[in-house]
């Protein structure tokens, strides 16, 4: 997650405190049905490529940029898989920065480049068959399962059991 000028400037003023921001994540599926993952250098875990959206940037353009930066693969976003908030999208980077994301997840098609470590954020980059995925965050695994089902509707989570107005 290379830090944009926007975030760098805010971090100078707020330190490690929670920053709540939009992010974009890419599920890149090649013609063989394999999913592109990269192993993050900061925590050693396999992860879907993605990161913060810069102010002024469209979410789809952000996912293209992030996938390129982290994996060396050029992609075209085909559809919005879903948009997610929720506390499972909160976390702390190894450097202590607290972040809360609202994640726009895109299903993407590779159109060029080769998977390779492309910057200091990744240790390994490769495609995996869906039945041979490495250990992943539960939410990343569920995104991949949903992407492979091929529903064109954008997914979202809706936790309201009853009208909030009932408290009135």
């Amino acid at each position: 997650m290379s830090m944009s000028e926007y975030i760098r400037r805010l971090r100078l003023k707020i330190g490690h405190e929670l920053l709540f921001m939009p992010g974009a994540t890419g599920i890149v599926i090649d013609e063989a049905g394999q999913v592109l993952l990269h192993r993050r250098s900061d925590n050693g875990q396999w992860w879907l490529p993605g990161g913060a959206i810069d102010p002024g940037e469209e979410p789809a353009d952000a996912v293209v940029r992030e996938v390129w930066e982290e994996t060396g693969v050029r992609v075209v976003p085909e559809r919005v898989l879903g948009v997610y908030g929720g506390l499972d999208h909160f976390g702390r980077y190894p450097n202590g920065d607290e972040i809360g994301m609202v994640s726009v997840v895109f299903v993407c098609r590779p159109v060029g480049g080769e998977p390779a470590v492309n910057d200091e954020e990744s240790l390994e980059v490769r495609y995996f068959l869906p039945d041979a995925l490495p250990e992943l965050l539960p939410r990343h695994r569920s995104y991949i399962e949903l992407a492979l089902r091929g529903d064109v509707r954008a997914d979202f989570r809706f936790t309201f059991p009853s009208p909030q107005g009932a408290k009135e």
């Binding site: 926007y6 400037r9 805010l10 003023k13 707020i14 405190e17 929670l18 920053l19 709540f20 921001m21 939009p22 959206i53 810069d54 102010p55 002024g56 940037e57 469209e58 979410p59 789809a60 353009d61 293209v64 075209v76 976003p77 085909e78 559809r79 919005v80 879903g82 948009v83 997610y84 908030g85 929720g86 506390l87 909160f90 809360g100 609202v102 726009v104 098609r109 064109v152 509707r153 954008a154 979202f156 989570r157 809706f158 936790t159 309201f160 009208p163 909030q164 107005g165």
Partner: protein, 168 residues
């Protein structure tokens, strides 16, 4: 966490600086095919109902909460119709704060046929309008309404300067 607590803390440190935040908008259509609009108290303009997400909140929960707070209607979010950002979504508030929104627009259905009513101080008036009798509204409201009325299953987004979503 309420957005007010998050923002108060952040604003104390960053002043009026630009913040890029996720927001939600509702296109609520009743059984007669009329659309719910609010007349905003801050500028007197008619608009779709929208609001800022709380950190940790799901977008769909945020839109249910916002529609309730502003119109006393309980709605069910049915699908994400589009993602929007850019100049139209850059807001300079009267106190000098600057916020750019990434807007997630939902098509929503009211759970009953009750009329909306002004429910907080953000609105002067709230009501359903027939589509052939809309009040004057800014283009970015009309665009999001038109996108929702296409009844496409996928969410629309912009990519590389082009309108997109599902068709790539």
């Amino acid at each position: 966490m309420p957005i007010s607590a998050y923002l108060r803390n952040l604003r104390a440190k960053v002043g009026h600086d630009l913040l890029f935040m996720p927001g939600v908008t509702a296109v609520v259509l009743n059984e007669a095919g009329q659309v719910l609009l609010q007349q905003r108290s801050d500028n007197g303009e008619w608009s779709l109902v929208s609001g800022v997400m709380d950190p940790g909140e799901e977008p769909a929960d945020a839109i249910v909460r916002e529609v309730w707070e502003e119109t006393a209607l309980h709605v069910v979010p049915e699908r994400i119709t589009g993602l929007y950002t850019g100049e139209d979504f850059l807001v300079r508030y009267a106190n000098g704060d600057v916020v750019l929104y990434l807007d997630i627009t939902f098509a929503c259905r009211p759970v009953n046929g009750e009329p909306p009513r002004v429910n907080d101080d953000e609105s002067i008036d709230v009501r359903y309008f027939p589509l052939d009798g809309l009040p004057s509204m800014k283009q970015f409201h009309l665009t999001r309404l038109a996108d929702a009325l296409r009844n496409e299953p996928h969410a629309r987004f912009k990519f590389d300067g082009q309108e997109g979503g599902g068709g790539h």
